[in-house]
């Protein structure tokens, strides 16, 4: 078993290093193939591990070697494959295998083909470290590692200014959150004496609530950054500058869900602090609505999907915050499948449209790209949560849990968001695949993607459809580790009303979206229509002016403050003080050199004056020595 674990963990690393060897050489097809094979190996190993866990139910736990050991601190490279991490491993390796294969086609004409695979595999490795680690420090390695790879992949086309800017933004925003995470880790260490999950969880029970609350808050700040929760969400939409497979793998399926994973992993902590959990759930619900609202009007295909991801992450946090950890994890898994599928489909469309991203400039693509159209439509259906696709089971479970826990505000927000989700998903589908063939205006001749790319996507399609049926198997597996709360509405009538009502609401939203966007009247907006000038539209298209606020008030003021610190403070105050002291000495010398007029007569006068000074000193000291007793007596009398 241990060998399987190591194979699952290290084959992505091998793949990355292998591809890295060829970064400076021209594109080589076999690198993509070998990298995909190695990731697939990792997937196979993970599957064996999953089978093992399903059969025996005992986690595999290994300690590879010591990492840091000093004082009382002991951090090993320890890895654990239990019910939770194996789920994540399956998701990560499966999606990344597909994305690797897909990328062979997608990155076909790119100069940095080899480099791309190196980064992508490195990401998979980091993600595996993140999910498999048995301690918070190891988690942090993966945490930062995925951040690094995300930086490298968002900025993959480094000649594009926006791409590198987005990469840096993503890295720095994640860093802000990582500080919270780091502080959380410090708190864990100084309060429990260990960073191992099992040791720390055991010790949590003995700690007071205040400490636990702080730990929970700081760890969650870390999760907020990685999972792009408000107010650290802006990087995710900008991260869409990266190649589309990257968006599919990192910014939809895996990395952004790391925050959810952290909360799920630390469930024993968050169980003890329901207040923080409630905050997480509320924030999650808010982000779900907030992101969905931005997706309603956006005119960038990838950004719409990114906002949808954000919104779904909100759902996951809502579930995790309410204590329904298994539901959150389940939604994570289901979401990974259909969202990756959606992104890969979007990649196909992008390729076909020569990197055109505005869905208003597409339309009617279903004739040219039938397979992609089918996949994206099904993925959107899954995302909207229509029975019997994956989204229905996971999203419904979240709604139920909110309802059962009597958090009706959260419930209604999530319900409303479900409608919005359906609307913007199908707005996108309708605009891209239905209606007039507006792309002809722009002289683009779309074509379907390579066949093997479509085949590579098919497992995701399959899973997006059938994942719901795995729900009970999954439930039985993970509840060995997570709290096994079943969220059932005991009143059958209410249950049916809710389920059918939700379905109807969602379907209505879909129908509305189709009606509005799938007709021939849709034209490319030119900024003149009444809607485009309304306040609400402007607010939404500008993302509530939050990026503007960050840029104007935080980035700019930081830049200005830095300049001031350098030019004004460092050069004009700190350094000038030092130079001033030197200058005083220097100018003293400069002034007193006039005494050295060279005129012997004057110098003789100075000599006499100096002699007087020295002689006076001699007299004073002589007297002081002579009368030292008396002086001491006087001084002590004065109380010195």
């Amino acid at each position: 078993m241990e060998n399987l674990l190591y194979i699952a963990l290290f084959s992505p690393l091998v793949s990355s290093l292998f591809a890295a060897l060829f970064t400076a050489t021209p594109k080589k097809q076999f690198i993509g193939i070998i990298a995909s094979l190695l990731i697939f190996t990792s997937f196979v190993s993970s599957s064996f591990l999953l089978a093992e866990i399903l059969i025996t139910g005992t986690p595999v736990h290994v300690e590879m070697m010591t990492w840091m050991a000093t004082g009382n601190l002991y951090i090993p490279f320890g890895f654990v494959v239990d019910q939770v991490s194996v789920t994540m491993m399956m998701v990560v390796t499966l999606v990344s295998t597909i994305v690797h294969i897909y990328s062979i086609g997608y990155m076909d004409h790119d100069k940095g083909f080899n480099r791309f695979f190196s980064w992508l595999s490195a990401f998979v490795f980091s993600m595996m470290v993140l999910v498999m680690s048995d301690n918070y420090a190891g988690l942090f390695i993966g945490w930062e590692g995925v951040g690094l790879c995300s930086w490298g992949l968002i900025g993959f086309w480094f000649h594009k200014e926006v791409a590198t800017w987005a990469a840096n933004e993503a890295f720095i925003m994640n860093r802000i959150a990582d500080l919270g995470m780091l502080i959380g880790i410090f708190l864990v260490y100084w309060n429990t004496g260990t960073l191992q999950y099992d040791g720390a969880f055991a010790a949590f029970a003995t700690l007071d609530t205040a400490t636990l609350t702080w730990i929970g808050i700081f760890l969650f700040i870390g999760a907020m950054g990685k999972s792009a929760q408000f107010p650290l969400h802006t990087w995710l939409a900008d991260a869409m500058e990266g190649p589309t497979p990257v968006s599919a793998l990192i910014h939809a399926a895996t990395m952004v869900t790391a925050g959810v994973y952290l909360v799920v992993r630390s469930n024993e902590l968050y169980d003890l602090i329901p207040n923080v959990g409630l905050f997480i759930a509320s924030l999650g619900a808010f982000v779900a609505l907030f992101a969905a609202s931005m997706a309603l009007v956006n005119r960038d295909m990838k950004r719409i999907i990114a906002y949808s991801t954000l919104s779904q992450l909100g759902y996951m946090f809502a579930a995790a915050g309410l204590g329904a950890y298994w539901v959150a994890l389940f939604h994570l898994m289901a979401h990974a499948f259909f969202k990756a599928l959606l992104f890969l489909g979007a990649g196909n469309v992008m390729h076909a449209m020569h990197d055109e991203l505005d869905p208003f400039k597409m339309g009617g693509l279903k004739k040219k790209m039938t397979a992609t159209a089918v996949m994206m439509t099904l993925a959107s259906v899954a995302l909207a949560g229509i029975f019997p696709l994956a989204g229905f089971f996971s999203k419904d479970a979240i709604l139920e849990s909110a309802f059962v826990e009597h958090h009706f505000i959260i419930y209604s927000v999530l319900l409303f968001t479900a409608g919005l989700t359906a609307f913007y998903s199908f707005r996108l589908v309708a605009l891209i695949f239905h209606g007039e063939e507006r792309y002809k205006l722009f002289g683009i001749d779309p074509h379907e993607a390579y066949k093997f790319m479509l085949i590579a996507m098919s497992p995701l399609l399959l899973l997006a459809i059938i994942a719901g049926s795995l729900k009970m198997t999954y439930y039985e597996m993970v509840t060995a580790l997570l709290p096994a709360t079943e969220y059932h509405i005991h009143n059958h009538l209410v249950y049916w009303i809710m389920t059918i009502g939700t379905q109807l609401f969602v379907i209505l939203a879909i129908v509305y979206a189709y009606k509005k966007y799938a007709n021939s009247k849709v034209t490319v907006p030119d900024g003149t229509s009444a809607m485009e000038n309304s306040f609400g539209y402007k607010l939404l298209i500008n993302q509530y002016y939050i990026p503007y606020f960050y840029e104007e008030y935080i980035v700019k003021s930081y830049r200005e403050l830095s300049k001031i610190f350098w030019k004004q403070v460092d050069l004009k105050i700190v350094d000038a003080t030092v130079d001033g002291i030197a200058g005083v000495l220097y100018s003293t010398g400069e002034r007193t050199r006039d005494m050295q007029s060279g005129n012997l007569s004057t110098m003789l006068k100075w000599m006499v004056a100096g002699t007087i000074g020295l002689l006076s000193l001699a007299v004073v000291f002589g007297l002081a020595v002579r009368y030292s007793d008396a002086i001491l007596a006087i001084l002590s009398g004065l109380g010195v």
Binding site: Q596, S597, G598, N599, L600, S601, L604
Partner: protein, 101 residues
């Protein structure tokens, strides 16, 4: 009216002061040398007087050495003075400003 040590010390003080005034106001190097001789002699008186009133010959010995030093100083000083005068044609102090800082 007994003449005591203090009288001699006061005399010495006065002579020393005169010598210093000379040192400070003379411009002619030769006359400056004169002033230094006065300084030395003023101190010599003090030495001799102290020696006398204390019945200790050390003071006289000191005065003796002071005279020796004064003589040698004079020899070298005058030699330098002559060299200087040969080169510059003047021994005015105000012209000697090559030590300007």
């Amino acid at each position: 009216m007994e003449i005591g040590l203090n009288h001699y010390l006061v005399l010495s003080t006065i002579l020393f002061a005169i010598g210093l005034v000379g040192v400070m106001r003379r411009k002619n190097l030769l006359l400056l040398f004169f002033a230094t001789e006065i300084l030395l002699n003023a101190v010599n008186i003090a030495f001799a007087a102290i020696s006398h009133y204390y019945g200790d010959l050390t003071g006289q010995m000191f005065a003796f050495f002071v005279i020796a030093i004064a003589a040698s100083e004079l020899a070298v000083g005058l030699g330098l003075l002559i060299v200087w005068f040969k080169r510059h044609g003047t021994i005015d102090l105000d012209t000697m400003t090559s030590m300007r800082g």
